[in-house]
């Protein structure tokens, strides 16, 4: 059976809340029913059928042919199946997803992977601020799963992260891993100011020494630990990187001593 495909008719005139178009929520619905779902957020909101041409039937494989920075909430709460977007998306892609795979060929807006619990979200372009981070009023950021950004991420990537893996392949903005409780964030490329600010535990893994750190991170020198090799192998085996990120004996900072201080920043020496 052919996967359910939403082909974008034209650039939408309003922001769209596409959180209803996931395998779980569309299961058992006919194409006619899907076309009548409301996705616009203006006073005269657009319906799915106004924005997309719908083909295919298999709701476990959803594809969006065409993207827009006005596509908010793609894959929200997804628990299984696959979702593919051939272009850009807006805010909160993959929010609270618990399983399945989302692939976005373009770039994402703010809060991609916010509160993610499981599954895999792969963004081929750039991601906005608060990658995996909580929304206003929430206590926890990412709680599990794998989030890969093949471009650059904005500020506060992995804010309040508790579990899971974030990999960013072209650098990120300031305050990466802020208020982190646990989990791992790997960044290839330039990292902005104050990574790990207020992190309690968890690992920040960089391919170079961070430029601006809070004075509450202590230089622990060069460490010979199995974890760096293990994680490098994981990144290569998963196809996230093609070369080791850290190498055999990375440098290490411990912190943030302003809080619990059990976090670590590991980085490749010699760059």
């Amino acid at each position: 059976m052919k996967g359910l495909t939403f082909t974008l008719r034209a650039e939408p005139e309003e922001r769209l809340d596409l959180s209803a178009l996931t395998p779980d929520r569309l299961d058992g619905m006919s194409v006619a029913e899907i076309a009548k779902l409301r996705v616009g957020i203006s006073r005269r909101p657009a319906l799915v059928g106004d924005i997309f041409r719908i083909t295919g039937k298999d709701v476990s494989q959803i594809a969006f042919d065409g993207g827009s920075s006005r596509f908010d909430g793609i894959g929200t709460g997804m628990s299984g199946g696959t979702l593919y977007v051939s272009g850009d998306v807006g805010a909160q892609a993959g929010r609270k997803m618990t399983g399945g795979t989302i692939v976005i060929e373009g770039s994402c807006g703010i809060h991609a992977g916010s509160g993610m619990i499981g599954g895999k979200l792969e963004i081929h372009g750039h991601a906005g601020d608060y990658l995996g981070g909580p929304l206003a009023g929430e206590m926890l950021g990412m709680e599990g799963g794998v989030l890969v950004v093949r471009g650059r991420a904005g500020h506060y990537a992995g804010d309040r992260m508790r579990r899971g893996v974030i990999a960013i392949l072209k650098g990120c903005g300031d305050y990466a891993g802020s208020r982190m409780i646990a989990g791992s964030i790997a960044v290839k490329g330039r990292v902005g100011a104050m990574p790990g600010y207020m992190m309690k535990r968890g690992s920040l893994l960089f391919d170079r020494r961070p430029e601006t750190l809070s004075p509450t991170f202590i230089d622990c020198g060069r460490v010979d630990i199995a974890f760096s090799g293990l994680f490098d192998r994981y990144l290569i085996e998963e196809g996230i990187l093609d070369k080791p990120l850290l190498g055999r004996k990375p440098g290490k900072y411990g912190g943030d001593t302003a809080v619990l201080g059990k976090g670590e920043i590991l980085f490749r020496l010699g760059r």
């Binding site: 309003e14 006073r43 206003a136 302003a258 201080g261």
Partner: protein, 362 residues
């Protein structure tokens, strides 16, 4: 004197309201930027709810960090009265807007009458980077004889982190100046208070500061005092929270309020042409919105002439000047009634917006 215009044409107030209501009713995505007193703010929220519109304060960009302190970090806060009467140790944190300097100086000249000791000790935790003293903070610090707490080349975020780590006897790369003096003062103080403003380049430093206050509360009572950058704007924020449960940058896409500081960022919505009509309400001055992409706007401002480019202009009264009002005051930490200083018959924002809402087709 004329108070209403359609384009540049003088019209009656009721005609202007009818015309504005028609524009609002035909709009797909109307947005509201406002700056009003409590009654004006309530009327704006009611109109937004009826329209299914989104609203933000005119100073929304400045308010974001202050609001984030409460929506994303939380904290322990006290009132100015408690600080004046009870705080025997005051730590000023970073720059505090000049509007609040008189309040702080008044504490310096009055004893903490509910504290065990009359003498109040002062410290100033600050960044140590070359920057112009735009707020006169150095002068204030000298006047209250505050002991400086800083570290070589440290930003405010670094300084707060250092203080928190060093007070917990955890290792740091460098040390704050005068830390021993602060430790001694903290040991002797019954009620230390950290006074700060939310408008900072490093919002995360506010989260660290609140963590520090929480740490201190494990052993003794301590608190913080938040002084907003703009009292009137903060009053509007509190009014919104009271009325809808959320601060500004709230929309009513499905009839219920939804808070989203990015989605309902009115400036962004106009820039990206998501909005198709802008209602601009400024009861304090005649400032008009920056024109963005020819999106039509309705102006409710303090003016004596039509606003250039506005589809409809209605002159409104200034709260506290033309009419009695209720506004927020940092000095008392709550709202206060304010008598009109020069009463006039200019229409109030609340009345105009209410009439606009009534003129809308149901």
């Amino acid at each position: 004197m004329s108070v209403a215009w359609v384009g540049s044409q003088v019209v009656s107030l009721s005609d202007a309201i009818q015309h504005a209501a028609k524009l609002l009713a035909s709009s797909h995505c109307p947005v509201i930027s406002f700056d009003a007193d409590v009654h004006g703010t309530r009327s704006v929220i009611a109109l937004a709810e009826k329209l299914g519109a989104a609203y933000d304060h005119i100073r929304g960009r400045d308010l974001v960090n202050e609001i984030t302190l409460f929506t994303s970090y939380g904290g322990m806060f006290t009132t100015p009265g408690e600080v004046r009467r009870r705080a025997d140790l005051v730590v000023l944190v970073g720059d505090i807007p000049a509007e609040h300097h008189d309040l702080i100086l008044s504490w310096a000249s009055a004893p903490a009458d509910l504290a065990a000791k009359d003498a109040r000790r002062w410290f100033h935790l600050k960044a140590n980077r070359p920057a112009p003293d735009n707020t006169g903070m150095n002068s204030l610090s000298r006047k209250v004889k505050a002991v400086a707490l800083s570290a070589e080349g440290a930003s405010l975020g670094s300084a707060v982190a250092l203080l928190r780590a060093e007070l917990a006897d955890r290792p740091t790369v460098t040390s704050l100046t005068n830390l021993d003096k602060l430790k001694k003062a903290l040991a002797e103080a019954a009620f230390p208070v950290f006074v700060f403003s939310g408008n900072t380049d490093e919002p995360m430093s506010l989260a660290m500061l609140q963590g520090l206050v929480a740490d201190l509360n494990k052993a003794k009572r301590a608190s913080s005092l938040f002084l907003p950058t703009d009292d009137a704007a903060w009053g509007a924020v509190l009014t919104c929270v009271w009325a809808t449960g959320f601060p500004p940058r709230t929309g009513f896409p499905n009839g219920a309020p939804v808070y989203d500081p990015r989605r309902w960022d009115i400036e962004r919505m106009l820039r990206e042409k998501e909005a198709d009509l802008h209602l601009w309400i400024s009861a304090r001055d005649s400032a008009s919105p920056a024109r963005r992409g020819g999106i039509p706007f309705i102006a409710l401002v303090r003016t004596i002439s039509p606003v250039p480019g506005a589809a409809v202009t209605i002159a409104v009264a200034r709260p506290g000047v033309d009419h009695d009002s209720v506004t927020y005051s940092s000095r008392i930490g709550t709202f206060r009634a304010e008598r009109a200083s020069a009463p006039s018959d200019q229409p109030e924002v609340a009345d105009i917006v209410r009439e606009l809402a009534e003129a809308l087709p149901c």
